[in-house]
């Protein structure tokens, strides 16, 4: 652990944090015996896209913005990258910054992030990652317990964000910072959030809940309740038909667990879920779809599709391959425009 004074240089000031703006990285795995949840970015693939555009490690600390876009002012010349379900707009020039691209801001320029309508969360990366103290192995903000991230809390107007890398020069960061890099390929996750069902495997208690439980989960279109947060996504719809929903002895749970509380209204656990839970788990969202789960917005229709373990493995391989080949193209400096025009579109 290090002292609380960021060594990096302030690069951005928060003019308006939007609804919820917080520092997130890959989270804190393996601390359940301390009651500490993994946390981290709700859409880790979009976090990786934003970071990769600047040559950061995929899980470096970035800002996660939720539902309402934040506004920043550059305190120095700095290249930043945007990903997920928000797009940027630079004041004065009016330049648009699509998700999956980086932009260089001059000192004093403002960047506004706005929802694209594809999902709930946007990510903004800075060179080298955001400089906040590492607490219990991570720079993520544990919002419920109030530690980690920026003073253990969401960002407010006037907060100054420091970068670990030296902005603008590439020094202190890896070599391939490009002032206007585009994520090449179609692997930007927010593009596919809207309508595809979330793929699930039967949960550990699916049999105990009776044959109707999983069937009625996948049969209907649910609506994401506004009473949802990073802990869990609550679903509105007809109640789940389950033969037994009594409390179980507390057991460990994972992100993507579809819990069935006694009222029959399912809860899908998100990244800030408690390490253990006592409700039966009827289904579990596959790893390849967790980023899309993290992008669901209140009011969104939510559908589930049962798949096999082989399907789950294949989906993960396909998602990883698409990401890796896009990353390779980015490193070779092949931009989106080039691919786009090369494809004759």
């Amino acid at each position: 652990m290090r002292d609380d004074t960021p060594a990096g240089r302030p690069v951005l000031e928060v003019i308006d944090p939007g609804l919820l703006l917080a520092v997130q990285d890959g989270g804190r795995p393996g601390l359940s015996s301390q009651g500490v949840t993994r946390g981290g970015a709700a859409d880790s693939r979009s976090l990786a896209v934003a970071n990769s555009l600047l040559g950061n490690a995929p899980d470096a600390a970035a800002l996660e913005a939720t539902l309402i876009g934040p506004t920043f002012r550059a305190l120095a010349t700095v290249t930043v990258a945007v990903a997920g379900a928000m797009a940027g707009r630079v004041d004065r020039t009016g330049e648009r910054v699509a998700p999956g691209t980086s932009v260089t801001l001059a000192a004093g320029q403002e960047l506004v992030l706005e929802p694209t309508g594809d999902g709930a969360r946007g990510y903004l990366a800075v060179p080298g990652g955001i400089d906040v103290p590492i607490v219990l192995g991570s720079r993520s903000t544990a919002l419920g317990a109030g530690f980690g991230g920026f003073e253990g809390r969401a960002l407010r107007q006037g907060d100054r964000i420091a970068a670990i890398g030296v902005p603008g020069t590439g020094q202190g960061t890896r070599a391939f910072i490009q002032p206007h890099a585009h994520w090449p390929g179609d692997a930007v996750p927010a593009r596919v959030t809207a309508t595809a069902p979330l793929r699930v495997l039967p949960g550990p208690h699916a049999k105990g809940l009776g044959p109707d439980a999983l069937a009625s989960l996948v049969a209907q279109t649910w609506t994401m309740s506004s009473a949802s947060d990073r802990v869990g996504i609550r679903l509105d719809g007809a109640t789940l038909r389950a033969s037994a929903t009594g409390g179980l002895a507390s057991h460990g749970v994972v992100t993507g667990s579809v819990q069935v509380p006694p009222d029959g209204r399912p809860i899908v656990l998100l990244v800030d879920h408690q390490p253990t839970g006592g409700y039966p788990v009827v289904a579990v969202v596959i790893t390849a779809d967790l980023g899309r789960l993290g992008q669901l917005a209140p009011g969104a229709p939510v559908r589930f599709q049962e798949v096999t373990p082989d399907d789950a493995r294949e989906a993960l391989v396909r998602s990883d391959t698409a990401f890796a080949s896009s990353l390779a193209l980015l490193r070779e400096g092949v931009g989106w425009d080039e691919l786009w025009h090369g494809a004759g579109a």
Partner: protein, 220 residues
């Protein structure tokens, strides 16, 4: 007799469910099994840190490197030792927690005493006379499930949880007791409060009470 059961928990974890025999014994067996799996993990990076709970161990794994069936086969030999004798006293640290019982600090104490048909003093005496063990962690950072509560003072949770329980609240529900480390929503019955700091992210380790520790409460 049913032995332990391994079930897939999505594409990146399996759950080992133990046969339930009693809350303290089950949690000890779960911790012992988790420790054995953790030993395996140091030689096999495909496995994540196991999560021991009331009567089960969740074992995360890297879905790009293995699958539930292979992890199940890997764990099976460890389960044979599950039927070994309960090795009794936990090896953890002993902690003493000073509690202010009742009043504004324990708003449910009077109702608990009524429900149990006991005097308030008797409820306090029973709660404080018992040596508890930290069974497992989970609800929040630093939250420890302690057991086993004396049978005479067992009450159900609130039907409607409170939206805000103050930090340091000492609570009971069913066969367990616990302390809320931070202000949070909660459905357990509040009988007192402590000034002890249950979770400090700057401390090593951050949680004051860890699985296997022994805890006694003393009236402040």
């Amino acid at each position: 007799m049913n032995g332990p059961r391994i079930v897939a928990f999505g594409d990146a974890a399996v759950l080992v469910e133990l046969e339930q025999r009693g809350v303290v014994a089950d949690a000890r067996r779960a911790r012992r099994l988790a420790a054995a799996i953790d030993g395996l993990r140091t030689r096999d990076p495909r496995l994540g840190v196991p999560v021991a709970a009331a009567a089960s161990v969740l074992v995360p794994f890297e879905p790009r490197a293995t699958d539930a069936a292979a992890v199940g086969a890997l764990l099976a030999p460890l389960l044979d030792s599950d039927d070994g004798p309960d090795d009794g006293a936990a090896a953890g640290t002993e902690r003493v927690i000073a509690v202010r019982y009742g009043g504004d600090d324990g708003p449910d104490l009077d109702a608990v005493a009524m429900e149990c048909g006991l005097s308030v003093d008797r409820v306090i005496e029973l709660h404080a006379a018992t040596a508890y063990e930290v069974l497992f962690a989970g609800f929040a950072p630093g939250f420890a499930y302690l057991g086993e509560l004396p049978a005479a003072i067992r009450v159900p949770r609130l039907a409607t949880p409170r939206t805000r329980v103050p930090a340091g609240s000492v609570a009971i529900a069913g066969s367990m007791t616990a302390i809320y480390p931070q202000a949070s929503p909660g459905g357990w019955r509040l009988i007192g409060r402590t000034d002890a700091r249950l979770f400090d992210p700057a401390a090593t380790p951050p949680a004051l009470l860890r699985p296997g520790d022994r805890v006694r409460f003393v009236p402040a």
